[in-house]
């Protein structure tokens, strides 16, 4: 099995063989790790879930690496896999009834950077409360800086749908800020 489509190997400027030090997939995936982890953290709201989601996305991407024809599109391709993994997890949260065996904390620890970010003010809490599809659009647009068309590719929805999700989510976030006590949650 070829590790990536031939075009990918060629793009890397190497004659990739088994004796190579780094395989193309690892190289491309390694470049996206930090970004992917942050994206997953913002979508899922805690570091543990983000870590699991990225690990799962890497496995999925590895399994499907033969589908990638253009290494330039690796980021969009991996984003799409990762966003799907995160959305599945968010939806599952509302479906699965989880009963703890151990007296584990219900919320992420105080040191969790993503939880801290999201729980810091009313807008963050409102973001954390958005449905999965709306949260994904907000994060991809305002954090990743992607256009609506680029987001549409990643979430597998038409640009018009992305726009409406963005507008609805933005309205919720704006309202949360306006409803917050003055001077407390506003930055």
């Amino acid at each position: 099995m070829i590790p990536l489509a031939p075009a990918v190997e060629g793009e890397l400027g190497t004659d990739v063989t088994r004796s190579s030090a780094v395989d193309p997939f690892s190289l491309l995936a390694g470049r996206e790790l930090d970004r992917g982890y942050r994206l997953a953290g913002l979508l899922l709201g805690n570091a543990a879930d983000a870590e699991d989601a990225v690990a799962t996305a890497i496995e999925h991407a590895w399994t499907r690496r033969g589908q990638l024809r253009d290494p330039e599109s690796f980021r969009a391709w991996f984003d799409r896999i990762l966003v799907n993994v995160c959305r599945d997890r968010l939806r599952r949260r509302s479906r699965v009834r989880v009963i703890s065996l151990e007296p584990l904390p219900e919320r992420p620890g105080p040191g969790d950077p993503f939880a801290t970010l999201l729980e810091r003010d009313a807008v963050g809490r409102a973001l954390a409360g958005l449905v999965a599809d709306q949260r994904a659009v907000i994060v991809l647009h305002y954090w990743a800086g992607l256009s609506l068309d680029e987001i549409a590719v990643r979430v597998g929805a038409p640009p018009g749908t992305v726009r409406s999700r963005l507008n609805r989510a933005l309205a919720v976030l704006r309202a949360s800020e306006e409803l917050a006590p003055a001077g407390r949650d506003r930055r």
């Binding site: 099995m1 590790p3 088994r18 780094v22 395989d23 997939f25 690892s26 995936a29 390694g30 790790l33 930090d34 992917g36 982890y37 942050r38 953290g41 913002l42 570091a47 543990a48 879930d49 870590e51 699991d52 990225v54 690990a55 799962t56 890497i58 496995e59 590895w62 399994t63 033969g66 599945d88 997890r89 599952r92 949260r93 479906r95 699965v96 009834r97 989880v98 009963i99 703890s100 065996l101 151990e102 584990l104 950077p113 993503f114 801290t116 970010l117 810091r120 003010d121 807008v123 963050g124 907000i138 994060v139 305002y142 954090w143 800086g145 933005l170 976030l173 704006r174 800020e177 930055r187």
Partner: protein
């Protein structure tokens, strides 16, 4: 047009985000290692994923034609449907699995699968989730044994969290992954560890399935922790519990 609120939103989302943990770097390194170990595959084997769905469609179409659902003609009517399975018991006696001093039992009560744990402090319900009665409508044949396996393991993350946090109930039928009940894909409970209740059927001399972690598609390389049961050959007594293992793909 970006307004002040949107600019502040973008700024605050970018604040203080951490780098990926070392475990994810290790994950990528695992992929590289896998790449080295992965054998080259002949060109014709790469066609299998392409041709397999076509073969399935053809097989289904042929089957429907034979049943008289598709096609025209004057053939005789197809066979009548199979009789409905045996009545669903309100409770059944499951295989009990002991782990870490606790005994788990699974019963089917009024449309719900109920998982109970009996430990030193007593018995408590861990899971009560609805499940279709059809799952229990096909009792094993005389030459097979049905198991209700409990197993737990990590969610596949590189760091191994040890505590059991949540439970997921799924059912594995022989030869397939017909998980049922939430979540439908046999997924993972939040935050790491999970417990699967797997129903599997094995014939004499065969082994019932072990727990495997994997969402869709099913990934046999991510076997984690579980118990494997070996059905005794005809004439033998007892069920062999094979050593459990823990490995990650």
């Amino acid at each position: 047009m970006t307004d002040d609120f949107e600019r502040r939103l973008a700024d605050r989302l970018a604040e203080g985000l951490p780098e990926a943990p070392a475990s994810l770097q290790a994950k990528v390194a695992d992929m590289q290692d896998k790449w080295y170990r992965e054998p080259e595959v002949a060109w014709w084997r790469r066609l299998v994923p392409v041709l397999a769905p076509v073969a399935v469609v053809i097989a289904v179409a042929v089957g429907l034609v034979q049943l008289g659902v598709l096609g025209s003609g004057t053939g005789s009517p197809g066979p009548s449907p199979s009789p409905v399975g045996t009545p669903v018991p309100t409770t059944f006696d499951p295989t009990q699995v002991v782990s870490d001093g606790a005994t788990f039992s699974i019963t089917y009560e009024a449309g719900n699968v109920v998982v109970r744990e009996t430990g030193t402090t007593g018995t408590r319900v861990l899971v009560s989730t609805s499940a279709p009665a059809s799952l229990f409508a096909s009792p094993p044949t005389s030459s097979s044994v049905t198991f209700y396996n409990l197993a737990c393991g990590t969610s596949g993350s590189a760091d191994e969290r040890e505590l059991v946090y949540g439970y997921v109930v799924g059912f594995d039928r022989r030869g397939g992954l017909a998980y049922s009940g939430p979540p439908a894909d046999g997924g993972i409970a939040d935050n790491g560890l999970m417990l699967f209740v797997l129903r599997s059927v094995a014939d004499e001399g065969e082994r019932a399935s072990v727990l495997r972690h994997g969402s869709t598609p099913f990934d046999p390389d991510t076997v984690i922790l579980g118990w494997t049961y070996e059905v005794p050959a005809a004439g033998s007594q007892g069920v062999t519990v094979l050593p459990s293992g823990c490995r990650q793909g």
